[in-house]
Amino acid sequence: MKLVSVFNNKGGVGKSTLSFHLAHALAEQGIKTLMVDLDPQSNLTLQCLSADYLEELWTTEEPFIEDFQAALDESEKDFSEFVATPRSVHCLLKPIEDGLFESYGLGAVYEVANDLGLIPGRLSLHTYEDKLAKSWSDAFMGEPQALRLLTGIRRLCEDAGEKQGYEVAILDTSPSLGMINRVIISTSTGVFVPCMPDMFSTFGLTNIGMALRSWKSQFDTMYSLLSDKKRESFPGQFVRFLGYTLYNARKYAGQNEYDLATAHYAYARKLPAVIRDKIPKDCYSHLPEETIGVPVGGTAITHSHSTLPAMAQKYRVPMWKVPDLPNLLTEDKGTVSGNKETYYTKREAYHAFARDLMSRLEGVEG
């Protein structure tokens, strides 16, 4: 099972839309993919299922988030019955947060498409983060409950891999470098950073570089203190940095190698140097030196069109499936049919992007 974290230090830049299309592209190429929405904003979830469905789910879970054991007793169900219906990621983590069970199975995963599953997000995930922060120092003492909290998200993904045949998990994260992302990213197989060609990306990459350096040293210390048995529930090595990708930029054909506006291009050109200066070398030592300076997928997904992602969101399908939707509303038919070919070309673009991302994970143990 390979866990890929998608991280950006700046929110609201379409990272969840990117995760969504990446996951679809992987699944369409026969790689059974699990999306895990770890951003409390739950944008990835809303891209996959309706607001009504999510509201219903969250409402049902509410008592379990307040007091899991009491709610389970009240429901007169056992745990495996309770998770036979897809649950949000926070609800699935809640028994660990409350210290109820030592181990338990994942249960049902929401099926978005063929070979594509989703563990929905939940706005309340911050209480899990609070517990993680409180337990952090205990993990260095090998305290079992603290270690279960640290490996909880990873354990859910591995369970999906072992029991349901998932091969890759795409972990959509919140734009913070706080405790929960310290744990999610550090214990992933790989992380990549979607970058818009602006000043936030250079600062963002610098921040993630500094964070990776400090997290690696913390996890190295922790690993050196865990017994061999306890060490096994963590990945063999620290997360690999898979690179960045340029996306959400307007196309200015013929201006430069990336077809970007001059101001954007100036920012885009800085990124390889920022990576070489700020990201710890041993996080990408598995890749050839020149690869890390090139965006993941080259320019495959660099250029955006304002209406395409909006349509994908509205109909909750990848962009390339929008033109052929039987339920396409009359009001949208005009704009979509005029750009049909543009919609279709996105399919191969995202497939190429997904292939390049996977190639950067080759040989890295899960």
Partner: protein, 228 residues
């Protein structure tokens, strides 16, 4: 002291890079001995981390230069590559108990943590004693008996968190009375042994007194504990 810092820059660096692991592992070991399940057997705990200057002095003594005492001198010198295998008491925890029979519970509890893979033994535990009666008791518990030149008494364990870690923690278990002797002996004989023969003799007598006191304490506990 500054001379030693200049002489062993590699060891200084290794110490700086790994000292946090020693501190954290020591805390883990302390937590274990302070746990509720041992509260009937453990009286109190002392602990210390060897500072860099004392570590370098020990390295210097082990390397047999500048000091007349060469303890367990070995053919290869201590360097940054083997420092944490050759000096295993950077972190130290001393577990004090009231009477000898409590050692059994402490020992068994620690050994079950070792069996559970929670701690790894870096070397076989040793029981230092000069007293034949105590020696038999330690041997019954499966402890290897060793004799130090002085009247030193203590059971020694060297623990590691796992097979690959640099960090070690030396655990010494002894009775409170033995601690009294140990502290007096240490303050006079460490790091430079006292040469006054009369003082040496008095420390030896104190050791016998402590030995007799320990046996008396054991006997009192054996016959009267539980009668009150």
């Amino acid at each position: 002291m500054d001379d030693l810092r200049e002489k062993y820059p590699g060891i200084m660096e290794a110490y700086g890079a790994h000292i946090e692991e020693f501190e954290l592992f020591q805390k883990h070991v302390r937590n274990f001995f302070e746990s509720r399940s041992l509260s009937h057997y453990v009286h109190s705990i002392r602990h210390r981390i060897k500072d860099i200057d004392h570590l370098l002095e020990k390295v210097e003594r082990k390397n047999g230069e500048g000091q007349e005492v060469v303890e367990d001198s070995e053919p290869t010198p201590v360097t940054e590559d083997n420092i944490f295998d050759r000096v295993t008491d950077v972190a130290g925890v001393r577990v004090l108990h009231l009477h000898t029979s409590q050692l059994e519970a402490i020992h068994n509890s620690l050994m079950s943590k070792v069996d559970d893979d929670e701690f790894t033994l870096f070397e076989q535990p040793k029981a230092y004693t000069w007293d034949p009666e105590s020696g038999e008791y330690f041997e019954r518990l499966g402890l290897r008996r060793e004799l130090k030149e002085s009247y030193y008494t203590s059971v020694h364990y060297v623990l590691r968190p796992n097979s690959k870690s640099h960090a070690t923690c030396e655990v010494q278990v002894r009775t409170l009375l033995e601690e009294v002797w140990g502290e007096i002996d240490h303050s006079l004989n460490y790091p430079h042994p006292i040469s006054d023969p009369q003082c040496k003799e008095q420390i030896r007598v104190l050791a016998r007194l402590v030995g007799a006191g320990t046996h008396l304490a054991d006997s009192i506990m054996r016959y009267y504990a539980g009668h009150s």
